[in-house]
């Protein structure tokens, strides 16, 4: 069994192309979220949304280790997962605005983006709600022998949900190709996870015999390395694994959560964004290694910004579904 203390030494080798793609993807997520926040502030977005800023390396590092036909399940904080798995930002923005061109024809919204074409089984607004679905996808992949695996993304808050332990047990019993990716951003809504989580997190999956590892979730190369090993493990038929990614959300629990001092200090937020930013960490490393220069990175940023702007404008201009859409697709 792999544990945090016995980490395999070698990271999967990353090509320059992959590294730059991960940089672009992380920056795309950052920009997508900035635009989503902007839509909220301009009162163009119905309801609230949960932003992924600060956590980009988790989704991008893991999804870079996947095949296009592999599955993911996502959460209420799901934009990063969808984009990292290859979703198109224009259709995502359209979904956030409840437009017909959205991934769910406007019926799902920010918390329910799903896309079979990229293996996205759906974001879920029930904490822990996708643990069963993810394990079921791994179950079918094994039965059908199609070589796919599934990554179940969830926040550390979902560690409170019993269903997670039920499915981890079965996944290990039946050696299902599923990776439980726990994004520990340290807060369950407005409560620090230390107040809701007893004991040692990794000991929980370890008790079921799952290989379990903790990784710096701000370092996309580290995330990718750990994820790649678990992907290989799962694909080889050796069963499930648990990856604990330590990270931080920069913004509020949702876009309306502005005054946060009662549950976390401003200095803490500033420390993470100035010292532990996943995009800067990779960018600095790329420059240091002379794999990219700052002009090249700026060019990527400019391109991404233009792309996100166009995607957002597409969504703003897109029409709402007609009212009869409400009764479509209740049954298959």
């Amino acid at each position: 069994m792999t544990t945090a203390t016995q980490r395999p030494e070698v990271n999967a080798a990353l090509t320059k192309e992959q590294l730059l793609r991960m940089y672009r993807r992380m920056y795309s997520i950052r920009q997508f979220e900035e635009h989503a926040n902007d839509l909220y502030l301009r009162a163009l977005m119905p309801g609230l949304t949960h932003l992924y800023e600060g956590e980009e390396a988790v989704a991008v590092g893991i999804c870079e280790a996947l095949r296009p036909d592999d599955y993911i399940t996502s959460t209420h904080r799901g934009h990063g997962h969808c984009l990292a798995k290859g979703a198109a930002p224009n259709r995502m923005f359209a979904e956030l605005l409840g437009k017909e061109a959205g991934y769910c024809r406007g019926k799902g919204g920010s918390m329910h983006i799903a896309d079979p074409a990229t293996g996205n089984l759906g974001a879920n607004a029930i904490v822990g709600g996708s643990a069963g679905i993810a394990t079921g996808a791994a179950f079918s992949a094994k039965k059908l022998g199609n070589g796919r695996i599934c990554v179940c993304f969830f926040g550390e808050g979902a560690l409170g949900q019993g269903v997670l332990y039920e499915v981890m047990n079965m996944a290990q019993l039946w050696k299902l190709p599923v990776i439980y990716a726990c994004e520990n951003n340290m807060y369950n809504e407005y409560t620090h996870y230390s107040e809701t989580t007893s004991g040692d997190i990794l000991s929980r999956p370890a008790a079921f015999g799952l290989p379990a590892e903790s990784v710096d979730g701000q370092d996309v190369r580290a995330v990718h390395g750990a994820a790649s090993r678990f992907v290989e493990h799962a694909r080889a038929g050796a069963g499930p694994a648990f990856l604990l990614c330590n990270t931080y959300r920069y913004r509020g629990h949702h876009v309306g959560d502005i005054n946060r001092e009662y549950y976390r200090a401003k200095q803490e937020e500033q420390r993470w964004s100035s010292e532990r930013d996943p995009i800067n960490i990779l960018g600095d490393w790329l420059v240091q290694q002379t794999l990219a220069d700052s002009a090249q990175l700026e060019r990527i940023q400019t391109e991404v910004k233009a792309e996100m702007n166009a995607a957002m404008e597409f969504a703003i201009a897109a029409p709402y579904p007609t009212v009869d859409e409400a009764e479509q697709d209740v049954y298959a």
């Binding site: 019926k107 920010s110 918390m111 029930i126 409560t191 809701t196 709402y320 409400a326 009764e327």
Partner: protein, 335 residues
């Protein structure tokens, strides 16, 4: 408003404030009352309904939990059986699905199964109501579910006054009570006396007197019915609005009497139309007032679809003033 309210010092409180005040008063009165749920303490729930309670009563009585609904609800059941009076907070009524075993197989049945020896004096506070743009898993009105279960009492207040008086009764009741708050009403203001009062279960309230048609409405649908009643008045139809306030116990007498008087009835509720509470209430009226009715009892509920996110779609799924107005106009034979 009931007379008692008019005679005493009356303040304007929001629906949320009325709930907080009921909880605070009951917690002062009875040291066994405690609140348990996710982000109920410093955060005061995402809706800020419980703000200030932890400051007064401390973390021993306003208890933050992990995101473990079945677990903390089960703890509530056990604690209720053994000397406390827990008020369990189910942040979104949609999460009742997660606690069904604790609520339905445990809390609801324990008194009966134990031959009346154990009691489960607890309250489940849950939200309901759509149009908040929260999509299919955070917008449902699931009060028909517990209403179907013997052993549970189910409360749906529609005004700040009712919310406070009914919550106090819920906390003092020796049975599990499921208390539904429409999250879109938390900021709704209304008169609430500062003097002590409680509202008994099983007593419907006539929110508006009328002679031509009875509109039975629950929770936020009372506002929808009120809007419709104003429109109906303009075309010469006098609508009576009856709010049952509790789904169980149900004040069948008041419902039947009103329908007998007006000879027509429409039942409006935000839960699903199919197999919803409107069906039960309509059948009570149909049976009890049959010989006095001039037409079939009509029902208006949510469209039978998961609540869609997109605003124009979501709005179309819940009963509207216009829909109630049209149905009432037709039933009264007015063009």
């Amino acid at each position: 408003m009931p007379e008692t309210a008019a005679q005493t010092t009356v303040r304007e409180l929001t629906f949320g404030e009325a709930i907080r005040e009921a909880l605070a008063e009951e917690m002062r009165r009875d040291a066994r009352v405690c609140v348990i749920g996710e982000d109920v303490a410093e955060a005061g729930t995402p809706f800020k309904v419980l703000s200030g309670l932890v400051e007064e009563f401390g973390k021993e009585r306003v208890i933050d939990t992990p995101i473990s609904e079945p677990g903390f609800t089960g703890i509530g059941v056990g604690a209720a059986m053994t000397g406390l009076r827990p008020v369990v907070d189910i942040m979104f009524g949609d999460f009742l699905t997660l606690v069904m075993d604790q609520m339905v197989n445990q809390a609801a049945k324990i008194h009966y199964m134990s031959g009346g020896t154990w009691k489960v004096p607890m309250v489940f506070r849950a939200t309901m109501g759509a149009t908040r743009r929260s999509a299919a898993q955070h917008s449902q009105s699931l009060h028909a579910w517990p209403s179907h279960i013997p052993g549970l009492k189910v409360v749906l207040p529609s005004t700040p006054y009712d919310a406070k008086g009914l919550l106090k009764t819920a906390i003092r009741d020796d049975n599990p009570v499921v208390f539904f708050e429409d999250k879109m009403m938390y900021r709704l203001k209304g008169p609430v006396p500062s003097e002590e009062y409680a509202i008994p279960f099983g007593v419907a309230d006539i929110k508006r007197a009328g002679t031509d048609i009875t509109l039975v409405a629950t929770s936020s649908m009372v506002q929808v019915a009120s809007g419709a009643a104003k429109l109906l008045e303009e075309i010469g139809i006098s609508a009576e609005i009856v709010d049952p306030r509790t789904m169980w116990p149900l004040d069948e007498k008041t419902l039947i009497e009103s329908a007998k008087k007006t000879s027509r009835a429409i039942v409006i509720d935000e839960g699903y139309h199919r197999y919803g509470v409107t069906a039960e209430i309509a059948s009570v009226i149909a049976e009890g007032a049959f010989y006095n009715l001039d037409g079939p009892v009509k029902r208006i509920g949510a469209m039978h679809v998961p609540i869609p996110f997109s605003p124009p779609l979501e709005d179309a799924t819940v009963p509207s003033e216009k829909q109630v107005f049209e149905a009432a106009r037709q039933l009264c034979g007015k063009s």
